[in-house]
Symmetry: C2
Subunit: 112 residues, 2 copies
């Protein structure tokens, strides 16, 4: 029932800015702090901090080339995160539907 969820992964994906960053990197096959910040409403430094966190939890990897540092999404790890999200939503969905069924049964006059 309760969360078999890796809170680190969940909260990494929980931030809206990080979600948009992952989205951008997926769409363009990667990015740098500078290029990402150009498409986001936050500064390069904020993006850099997020990239650091994302790398810490393994959702992205980076490689320095020249004076640039390119980041790439680790699709496997993101897939695992998505899987966890969906398992939590599924659990709640089930519980909500159970409650709905009970409510309907009560309304029909036959409690269990």
């Amino acid at each position: 029932m309760s969360d078999t969820v890796d809170d680190e992964l969940w909260s990494a994906v929980g931030d809206p800015t990080r979600r948009r960053m992952l989205d951008l990197m997926l769409a363009e096959g990667g990015g740098t702090a500078t290029t990402l910040s150009e498409r986001l409403p936050v500064t390069r430094q904020a993006v850099a901090k997020h990239l650091q966190l994302l790398e810490r939890v393994g959702l992205v990897h980076s490689a320095a080339s020249g004076r640039e540092r390119r980041f790439r999404v680790d699709e496997g790890q993101l897939a695992r995160a998505v899987e966890q999200l969906s398992s939590v939503t599924a659990a709640w969905d089930a519980r909500l539907q159970r409650i709905k069924r009970i409510a309907e049964a009560i309304q029909r006059g036959q409690e269990n």
Copy 2:
């Protein structure tokens, strides 16, 4: 593509303590700051703050009776939150699968 998501709802549900609180209230049909905190590893005051936030975003409602304040989950609003979670996971899932298909195509030697 990008998040048609209500960030307030998402981040309300993003906190692990709040998830457990919602879970408990769903299971027991409601609760107070005190009763919830007895089953959680945090203080009553921490729970009270979370309840305040949850009420602000409409995921719970409260009613004072005597010296108690009972909270109840708004199932409709929670259902909406769950729906948004699942729409985001679905979007990412689709994108990851698309990338996987492309990768396989390239490996087979036939790019598009």
